[in-house]
Structures are given as C-alpha cells and as structure tokens.
Amino acid sequence: MTSPFDQMSERLTRNLARFSSRRGFLSKFGAALLVSPVFPLLPVARAAKGESPKTDFERNAQATDDTKCNYWKYCASDGILCSCCGGGHHTCPPGAEPSPISWIGTCLNPQDGKSYVIAYRDCCGKPMCTAGKSCLCDNSDRELPTYRASLNNDIIWCFGNSSATYHCSTAALVGAVK
C-alpha cells in the first residue's frame, strides 16, 4: 500500500516525463543563452564591470554653462557658485582668496564619460556673495556625513585662511581618475 504522497509524486513525475521533452528544454535554454548578451545593461552586469550606476545629478549634467548648478563639475557643490559672483568655476572673484584646505571628490564628465578629481575649494575673506537662487546649489554626489569631515560639503572650508568669512564655492579640476 503506497502512501498518498508517494502516489502524488509518482503521478507528477510521470506527467512530467510524458508532457515535456529534454530536446524542448535544451532548445529553449540554448535560445536563452544566445539572446542573453543582447541585454548587457542589466544593473548586475554593469556592476560587475566596475561601473557604478549614474546618479540623478550625472543623468542631468551638462558641460557648457558653469553658472548653472547642473554643470558637471558641481556634482557635490553645496553653496553659491563663484561663477555667478565675478569668478569662475575654478577661480575666486577679485578680492577673495581660495581656501588651501578643501575636500576632494570625483565628478563624471558627460562629454567623455570619464571621472575626474575635483577640489571643492571655497573662496574666502569677503562677505557672502549675493546671487540669484539659480546660483545656490546643493549637490551631494559621493559626499559623506559630517562625521567623515574630510568628505563633507556642509563645512565652510575657509578655516585655513586668514579670514574665515565665506564668499562662494568653486570646483577645480585637479586630475583624471586613474
């Protein structure tokens, strides 16, 4: 006398054998293998190559207007853009001096798809620049919380200057990520 379990599993196995063929399975499996390289953009595949998925900032970054917050070098700029205050994205406005101490991160250049090392220097020694709202940025790619102070952008980096008054923020390209 066989148990109901035995009967059930026997029925399952026999049905499986009757209604499915090994060749059928092999042909479907082979087709799947053939088609799989067509989908290399799955996150898993990208991660395996060491590429990290693009951040929101990187998807909208541009390389033409450095008075806009989405200019690619500003990927972690938190402050008023010096390029709106009479300076450039890597130079201080007249009368302000760059902080010798900054924090350093990386930004992705949308033109060549490569990452570059950026020094987020503040310009100091003048009262805070007054510029339009569109020049007030708060980007935070690869920034870390204040307890990792060396990678934080909430800090006013003017503390190493003779005057610690904050004027505006720059993002100087200091090298390629190699």
Partner: protein, 141 residues
C-alpha cells in the same frame, strides 16, 4: 565590484588626492600651521621605528576608505614621492602586510600632538631634520 576593490585599482596618486589631498594639499603642502606638510618632511619620521608606525597608525590613515593594498601604495607614494630628500637612505617601502598590521592598532589612546612633538624634537636634534617640522601646531591664525 565592491567600492574597496575599485579603490585598490586606482593609482596611488589618485588615492592620495581622494583621501588626503583635500587637507594636505595637491602636492603635500597647504596651510603648514594647520595641517602638517608632507612635502620634504614626512620621510624624517621613518628614521624612527615609532615614526614609521606613527605614519600608518594615525587615525585618518588607519581608518581611511582604502584596502590594505591601496593604503600601502598610498603611503609609499606619500613617503617616497612627496617626502623627497627627507626619506632616510636605507628606507624600505611599506609592505601590505606591515600596513595591514599597523592600521589595526590605530593611535586613538594617545595625545597625537604630544607624540608628534616628542618625535620632532628627536628628529631635529639627532637626525638633522628641518625645523620646519615645528611649524605645524604654531598658532594657525
């Protein structure tokens, strides 16, 4: 690929910039009174076994976001490239194993300022090190 593995694949120079260069400066000098100069100075510490350990056991070094391999490369870049003539003639590069052991004993229980001052006195008096080593810690403002 893990972030740590990616860090390791970067050159020592890039790892230096991303982990140290913000405060120590792109070429190892920033505000000398606020952040110790590395350029032409860091090598002096390797005259002393304690100093060789000190460089790797400093909290920001030991706790840096780097693998042991990357950190060993980074330290050798700092000492032999930025350190210039301050490096003693017979200095051996840091090995991965050495760095791995040193960073597991971070200097968290001592006064770093006093420890440095003590070593700097010995280095200046007995090893002909530059008195520039004393600039760090002078009133920064």
């Amino acid at each position: 690929m893990l972030h740590a593995e990616m860090t390791q694949l970067r050159t020592a120079r890039t790892n230096y910039l991303l982990n140290c260069g913000g405060c120590h400066g792109l070429e190892g000098v920033s505000n000398s009174r606020l952040v110790p100069d590395l350029r032409d100075q860091v090598g002096f510490f390797l005259n002393l076994p304690e100093g060789r350990g000190y460089v790797a056991r400093l909290p920001n070094v030991a706790f840096s976001k780097t693998t042991d391999e990357a950190l060993a490369g980074l330290l050798n870049y700092v000492v032999f490239s930025l350190g210039g003539d301050s490096v003693p003639k017979v200095t051996k590069p840091y090995t991965v194993r050495e760095v791995s052991q040193l960073r597991r004993q971070p200097l968290t229980e001592v006064s770093l300022a006093r420890m440095r001052q003590r070593m700097v006195s010995v280095l200046i008096n007995q090893y002909n090190a530059t008195t520039e080593l004393r600039r760090y810690g002078e009133d920064a403002y």
